[in-house]
Symmetry: C2
């Protein structure tokens, strides 16, 4: 078995990647399975920079092939922001409701035909021998004016994916995984992970 | 004398434009000097759209050559936002302190070498016979981490113009007028206004 570190403590992310990589000869471990090392702050100007920095730190600290991701929402009428600031758009880190409420307030006067947005996920794989892969998954949709749905997190309650009428917080988790920015990024990374097995 | 309508109720803006146009045969009047007409909401995606829409509305309603402006701040690390949403960035319209505080909070982790910004002003002149002119003035600078200075308004307390160490809220009004985005836009419009005289 080849061990690959996913630079995350999120049990759902770990389970998802393990599910995808079952029977490939790749074993996924998380940050809780390795010696602690200092986290680099996410101060990059792009999702790519942040994912790559996290994966590089993890690979350098552990000597293991390491995967990291960074994601957020890019709103057309906000020139692609909140972007890398998605988790702290309201100024406080991780307050999903405040972040979502602020985006809705900023878009109050933005008409329906200019409310496009994309969820974006970049994933980086860094192999200590030197190989670096960065991939990007996008999920296009529009932003509604009032949140709805109980699944998901972040901006899911206000995002209606193209071709659907439900918000991504109204999709079942497996359905979301199959279509989402994160699912697409992992699919792009998959051949590179399999090649390590 | 040719009368030109400045689509504004701001006494400072009117006085400034009158000062610039003294002895040119152009008389500037403001919205308080004409019959009231409905204001179009500022919902354009660009400063240009907003300025042009305001000037068109004013020219159509009054039959006078009409000038309108729209302005805001474009922050590099926010992909050019707050932009047209500068006056309502925090979700509430016209709360300068809340807007400025939000930008500072969003930029907390943005390092000094990525804190560039530009004040932008577009001004439009619409002549009822059909001529439309739109000009843009920009004023580059950087954003500091704590506001200072008592002059100006909006984002002035956190904006240090290129070539200076003071914020634009620490400049004397006449000094600011001579260098600012608004001053530059009016300078670009001036030959077109003089041609009406």
């Amino acid at each position: 078995m080849t061990r690959v570190l996913l630079a995350s403590r999120n049990a759902k992310k770990l389970a998802e990647l393990r599910r995808i990589l079952v029977d490939t000869g790749v074993e996924i471990i998380g940050l809780d399975d390795v010696e602690p090392f200092p986290d680099a702050p996410e101060t990059g100007a792009t999702f790519e920079e942040n994912a790559l920095a996290k994966a590089r730190d993890a690979a350098a600290a552990t000597g293991l092939p390491s995967v990291a991701d960074d994601s957020g929402i890019a709103v057309d009428a906000l020139n692609g922001m909140p972007g890398v600031l998605s988790a702290r758009w309201s100024g406080k880190h991780g307050d999903d409701q405040a972040n979502l409420d602020l985006v809705l307030a900023q878009l109050t006067d933005v008409p329906d035909d200019r409310r496009g947005a994309a969820f974006v996920c970049t994933a980086a794989l860094v192999v200590p021998s030197g190989e670096e892969i960065v991939v990007r998954g996008e999920w296009r949709g529009t932003l509604v004016r009032f949140g709805r749905g109980e699944n998901g997190f972040g901006y899911d309650p206000i995002f209606v994916p193209e071709g659907d009428t439900r918000t991504s917080a109204e999709l079942a988790p497996a359905e979301k995984d199959a279509k989402s920015h994160r699912g697409r990024a992992l699919a792009l990374l998959l051949p590179h992970l399999r090649a390590l097995g």
